[in-house]
Symmetry: C2
Subunit: 565 residues, 2 copies
Amino acid sequence: MMSRPVAGVRNKTVIVTLPGSPKGAKENLQAIIKTLPHACLQAAGMDSRTLHAGGVKKLEADAGIASSAGNHTHAHGHDHSHTHGHDHSHGHGHGHGHGHGHRNLVRHTAPSANPMSNDPSLGPSRRNRESPYPMLSVDDALQKIRENVPCPQTCTSKVRISLCGQVLAEDVAAQENVPAFRASIVDGYAVVVPKDGNMKGVFPVVSVSHAAPGEAKPLKEGEIARITTGAPLPPGATSVIMVEDTVLKTLTEDGKEEKEVEILADNVSEGENIREVGSDIKAGSIVLRKGEQISAVGGEIGMLASVGAAEVKTYLQPTVGILSTGDEIVPHDRPGDLRLGEVRDTNRLALMSAVMEQGYDVIDLGIAADKSGTLEQTLRDAFSSVDVVITSGGVSMGELDLLKPTIERALGGTIHFGRVAMKPGKPTTFATVPVKDSAGERVPKVIFGLPGNPASALVTFHLFVLPALHQMAGIEPAGLTKAPVLLGHDFSLDKSRPEYHRAIVTVNSDGQLVATSTGVQRSSRVGSLKGANCLLCLPSGTEGLKKGAKVDALFMGQVRSEFRL
Amino acid sequence: MMSRPVAGVRNKTVIVTLPGSPKGAKENLQAIIKTLPHACLQAAGMDSRTLHAGGVKKLEADAGIASSAGNHTHAHGHDHSHTHGHDHSHGHGHGHGHGHGHRNLVRHTAPSANPMSNDPSLGPSRRNRESPYPMLSVDDALQKIRENVPCPQTCTSKVRISLCGQVLAEDVAAQENVPAFRASIVDGYAVVVPKDGNMKGVFPVVSVSHAAPGEAKPLKEGEIARITTGAPLPPGATSVIMVEDTVLKTLTEDGKEEKEVEILADNVSEGENIREVGSDIKAGSIVLRKGEQISAVGGEIGMLASVGAAEVKTYLQPTVGILSTGDEIVPHDRPGDLRLGEVRDTNRLALMSAVMEQGYDVIDLGIAADKSGTLEQTLRDAFSSVDVVITSGGVSMGELDLLKPTIERALGGTIHFGRVAMKPGKPTTFATVPVKDSAGERVPKVIFGLPGNPASALVTFHLFVLPALHQMAGIEPAGLTKAPVLLGHDFSLDKSRPEYHRAIVTVNSDGQLVATSTGVQRSSRVGSLKGANCLLCLPSGTEGLKKGAKVDALFMGQVRSEFRL
């Protein structure tokens, strides 16, 4: 879906340019074909007002396009763009498109009271007074991310601690047995067990087998060999008796070695206290599968080390650049008082921390001033070293909100969504930009334009950016773990938008997950993230949810408990 | 509790040296005072056999010491040391103490069948045939760790991403209001709302307030000022109207600026769309408390950045060295086949990963050969750069298990425990060693001697080492989060020892935590950690636990779910 078709009208002819690849051409044509009759009617000169008189529902019905299912509170504008036979990947925005149909915001005027305001003939002050970007549901936005984020690339990684967090791009087979030899699991004496299993008696110590490489001397019935934990059994030995079950009887003449040892055990079975060859891992067996992530708990990397894997094929992890934007933003640690209008940069540090915690390399791109040339150059420079840029700020409706124009006009990028029906985080923007790599190939780089309010930036990072990073790193399923929890108290709901409510999930004494709010959820209030380990997925609605109601939670951190060691 | 009193008997006098500090002296004296009469009787020459004839219970009753509560399967030896007025911090072990009373191991002979074997007169082959270390319960072992691990040290840290994971050693107050000025929360027009709240009409745009520092011109009723999200309100303005609620009417003569804008809103309230000064955070208020940990979710570090904190007092994080021991151990990635007896080093990589995941600096100490001089020098070198050494291997009953002798005899350290009643991990060893720091002060360094079997090493790391690291880093409560979960299937139990069963905790559709086993739990099988996100705390017992039973789990990783975005 990285193709960028161009569509337009020349005289009375509708011109659609499809991508060169058969697959791309087919997909793009499928996306627009039902709306072509409508476009042709318009191009042929039919009066637009008459044509649109039946409203979107009629147009959709005529074209055979069902309204998208899901949680759109603002589906109208979104669908409307479809009925014109192009979506926003066509780059039609350019600051003068589709102002109508996106008016269901929380505000004073009813949408119908607001005339069309987006006439380019108005001169230099031609900014949109309505966002030209359709308001997507969260699910639709996530779908756009899935479709447009590049697939994971593979690489060869050494089996080192830096492997933690990475995902295997191949099955890994054991190249040898674990253990590779018959080994004692205790310190004691290797013995040849007689048929009756009675080992009681005094035996000569004929050899010593340490947990060290070397050849072991064969053992006969009636002889014993001292052996340490993990050491190879002498050939012929059938069991090991723990040292605790023995008594030292006599020493060698020089007094330096054990000569005879008394064994106190009867009912000894063959194979006792022995790890057989390959009993933990058989040579050739698959120890880890493609798609498995190497956790830091240690089991996976331990498994790789134990079978002698020195290198494995993994998915490349994306490198992420973090940029704050806005003339008003100053470094958080700038000495001295703030001047009027200045705001300390909260997002850069918070987002860098969140990215680093996920194990990805992060590059600090600083603070970009509100000048389109500056932002453009910063992004161009960034893309030479990072795969993903996360910006915050500059995505509202202000005349200095330059991110979208810079992506579309200066960088030739595609904005896949620019508004999402959610709280907080409505102006969240996701785009891709084609950038030539060192081999001269155009590869897609990813930009997330997050809102400037700190709570919004962190929530949308976890909700949208993380799935993109996971997808690029080969983690499946991508994104935060989602699971139901019970509400620990009543929660009120937002009337029009689903809310991602910062909360603390605790395990109660029944092993049940219970969520409590972190308090005031204002999008500017980064304190709503303090202590939070989850985002509660609250639906929109007029009535609240009662204590005990079941709600999905997205887990950002470890669950809590009142109990610890 | 790091004081190291010395006690002894000279002629018939009991000599106890207490620490110099009044607090330390008091605590130490309290610890031994009830046992002093008993010690005095012995010192005065009373026959030890007669004195001890009544057994430990009688001695305890005489001294007024209650038996420790809890899960001791081997409480006898432990309590016995108490009745002598010293515990293992007195360094009495030295390889020839207290062999009796610690025989409840899983083995062939009943303890009574095994005569005392620990006579030093037997010559060079004088190793113990029973461990001289009392078998502690897990709870008692954790208590020893709490008592003997150094208290956290404070330092000053810059507010950077490296702060993540650290714990605050002071309350942090906001040095300024957030926001620091009255700010617009939307893009639109600052207005002076008339008494009736009706703003409908066409107004002159008299100024522009960007989200950039500067002086704002005062606004009068009947005038409006264009304003961007986050920008300071002009003095006199009372509300902000969203741009979506407006229509551009006329331009300035040069066509470059808005001259008049129509506002479509009525019922406008004062303060609408405005963030008041300090409404998110008030200057002087405490934003984070001493003891709070800076998480990577971003809320805490964002909070610090937003209030302009450049530096904060935190607790120093311990640096950890990881050492594997054993002549048989080869680097996991050594090319070529294994020779007889060789084993690939699994623990070093797995433990380094686990430490790094916790955010602590980790140093690779390599593999130490089974020569006491080598081990001693490796440990001495390590303590010049690390606070904690974690070794694996060399803690069993073998003649080459040199860790304990090296700690006690060569390094002058104290072994606080050398055996724990648990599965896996029985030989887990915890010690402290006094080391001169750069200022010439003797400071305690911590050693954990973990078992060589990979599953044992990882389980005991999470169970014992982590609480120690947390304590040093100021994290409270220390150690893994513990909470009840339901068993997803039947589990069998170990007859004599509590088991820390590697399992996967999943949230079911009711928001309930359910645990399933990772499979065969053999201590050599690192695969039992693969995919594990918890340790189930299974009690010892002869009957198993049924599906649905409630059991405590220690959470090593994020809970799982069948559901994701």
